[in-house]
Symmetry: C2
Subunit: 343 residues, 2 copies
């Protein structure tokens, strides 16, 4: 029997320019079969938790200059999420399996390409963690810090957007590794979290600093060995002036630039020569083969209480557009998750 | 007997701002003993060839942001050169030895720190080559290309300021290595040299291109794997848009920025993430331990006629200021050398 249900969806109305607004997205209801179509080796899932991630902005614009395809207007937004298998056309997954990976911003999704999905094996942690700590942002922090930044014990590490999904983890990995860690964030509350919950050595509110280079000089009188770059623009310029010889900049993101029609100019790049810096960009999906190794490291940390993790939870699919655009004004405190259903 | 001679010198008059002018330097004559002072383990040399190098601009300004000390106004300018030992206070060198390394812009110099000097062992090539092909710029091309850019056979290589001391060699090393090589330079004559004398696959005059990104697209329809960066600013911005995934930018210099009070902004740095680029700065002196290995590679190339090399020779110490400032307007065609004496 073909069970058909109403399926609430969040769609992008049309391609945008500049900062995204709630009204760029709309809720619609369509019909959806909960059975995998005959002959398909896809799966039908019930979406539980959806992830709001900064890179999603790039999919709201048609551009040839990015690595992911643009969304299709009128179709549900696509993003990372945690979901439960309702019906399966592949031996890889069976009914009631839990998965994380690319899904749709809707109650139920038919996922035809299951290659990029991860089966969730450890369920003694909150499932929503697979949108963050145990999912893409966790892997980003892991790959960026250990693989790209090549840290040494005792080094001086600076992290921007430090209280966010990725930043809070990089900071804690760096502390556990034996580094001195300072983070920047956009409010007093976030700065307090960095120092008190996430164990950063120091933190500051970049919005209250007139001279970012001077602020960094205060926290790093001897300079920065590793900059975990989430922000770009003026912060990068200030960091360049404060790097130590042979420093490394792991370029994870530049969120301050994503909504600008004309990106800001970065002026201090001669420092790359003078200080012999390595500035290296990376994309997390090229490191997913390390996921088992990552879990091996991070699951014990969680169990031993060595890692703290903070989520910002928006309730209900309808709250997703506001949650997503909130990333670009710093509304989220910790990893931004949308709860579609709890099981 | 203490032999004292008149010693012509080029001095920096005072610290400068903006573009250097000939009148920022002056010629003076002082007295000089040709004997090493009692108790000194330095050497007295007769300077033969002096090297004009772009980085020298940074020593004409008092700044904390650079890796070399500023010149001392009223004292001879310091730079790379080829010299002949006149008297020695160290067993490392004896009278009539030929050396290359840091010396003064004057007829005779007392060099107290001989640690950074290289003894010239191969004299079956023009001695002036030790200011370029077989000296610091040669080592720069070698280290930047092989060590920093980590080339693979068949890769697409772009070089800016390509007809200069460093660029002409990088291009030839890259061709010998099996890469596809395109260079940019500032005149038709230089473009012809790149194609006809140095064997580049293609070359263009950047001054005649309104849209540098479009020009690069023309020469690299599939993108650039390696950019050997000598110029910075607008060229870097255009290159970023044309890099291939996992491309590398060996940041050797940014001559377009050295004379600006406010460096230009580079706008396309999000490409570092999107393309997963490695942008790495280096300074040649950290690679001098490879000099023997470099000679082993390059001397046979020279003997077999596999490398062409072009110098631009200014005659006489008095011509040095004009030769130096000519670097910043592209007056030099090939490596800029100043002949003080031929032996
Ligand atoms: N390379 C990869 O594969 C990869 C993977 C995942 C994420 N990323 C990147 O990593 C960065 C962090 O992502 P996340 O998921 O951890 O997001 P997040 O930090 O949880 O959320 C974004 C945060 O960025 C800050 N922000 C927003 N606009 C800003 C601006 N103009 N200037 C400075 N800060 C601003 C806000 O915090 P404040 O209140 O502190 O301003 C906001 O809370 C992003 O750049 C993202 O694109 C890259
Ligand atoms: N990292 C290191 O250890 C190291 C060592 C040596 C050299 N370097 C750097 O390598 C680069 C090349 O040095 P070189 O000795 O080979 O010098 P060069 O190329 O022989 O001479 C400088 C050339 O730069 C070009 N130029 C000048 N102003 C420019 C501008 N505003 N825009 C574009 N091009 C400009 C001119 O050629 P056009 O006619 O083509 O414009 C000029 O002939 C420099 O940036 C230098 O600082 C670095």
């Amino acid at each position: 029997m073909d069970e058909t249900v109403d399926n609430k969806q969040i769609v992008l109305k049309e391609y945008i320019r500049g900062y995204p607004k709630e009204s760029d997205m709309a809720t619609q209801v369509s019909k959806m079969s909960l059975k995998v179509p005959h002959g398909s080796n896809g799966i039908v899932v019930k979406n539980l938790y959806l992830s709001c991630d900064p890179y999603m902005r790039s999919r709201m614009t048609k551009s040839t200059a990015v690595y992911v395809e643009a969304f299709t207007p009128g179709q549900p937004i696509v993003g990372y999420g945690v979901a439960k298998v309702v019906d399966s056309g592949t031996p890889k997954f069976k009914k009631d399996d839990l998965v994380w990976g690319m899904t749709g911003w809707e109650e139920y999704s038919l996922i035809t390409n299951t290659d990029t999905l991860f089966k969730i094996e450890h369920t003694d942690v909150p499932l929503s963690y697979y949108t963050g700590l145990l999912g893409m942002p966790g892997m980003t922090a892991y790959a960026g810090f250990y693989e790209v930044a090549t840290p040494k014990k005792g080094e001086y590490v600076f992290i921007s957007a430090a209280s966010g999904a990725v930043g809070q983890l990089v900071g804690q990995f760096a502390k556990l590794f034996g580094c001195y860690v300072v983070g920047s964030a956009g409010s007093k509350e976030k700065v307090d979290l960095l120092k008190n919950k996430f164990g950063f050595d120091e933190a500051f509110n970049y919005k209250e600093e007139k001279d970012l280079a001077a602020a960094l000089k205060r926290y790093f009188p001897d300079g920065i060995d590793i900059y975990f770059e989430n922000v770009g623009g003026k912060m990068l310029d200030a960091v360049l002036l404060n790097m130590r010889p042979h420093g490394r900049i792991a370029v994870c993101g530049m969120i301050s630039q994503y909504n600008l029609e004309n990106p800001e100019g970065v002026h201090n790049l001669t420092q790359v020569i003078v200080k012999r810096l390595r500035v290296e960009g990376f994309l997390v999906f090229e490191y997913y083969h390390l996921y088992p190794k990552f879990l091996e490291m991070v699951l014990p940390y969680i169990k031993e209480g060595k890692i703290n993790y903070l989520e910002d939870t928006a309730e209900g699919l309808e709250s997703a557009p506001a949650a997503l655009i909130g990333l670009y004004s710093g509304r989220n405190i910790g990893k931004q998750v949308v709860v579609v259903a709890r099981e």
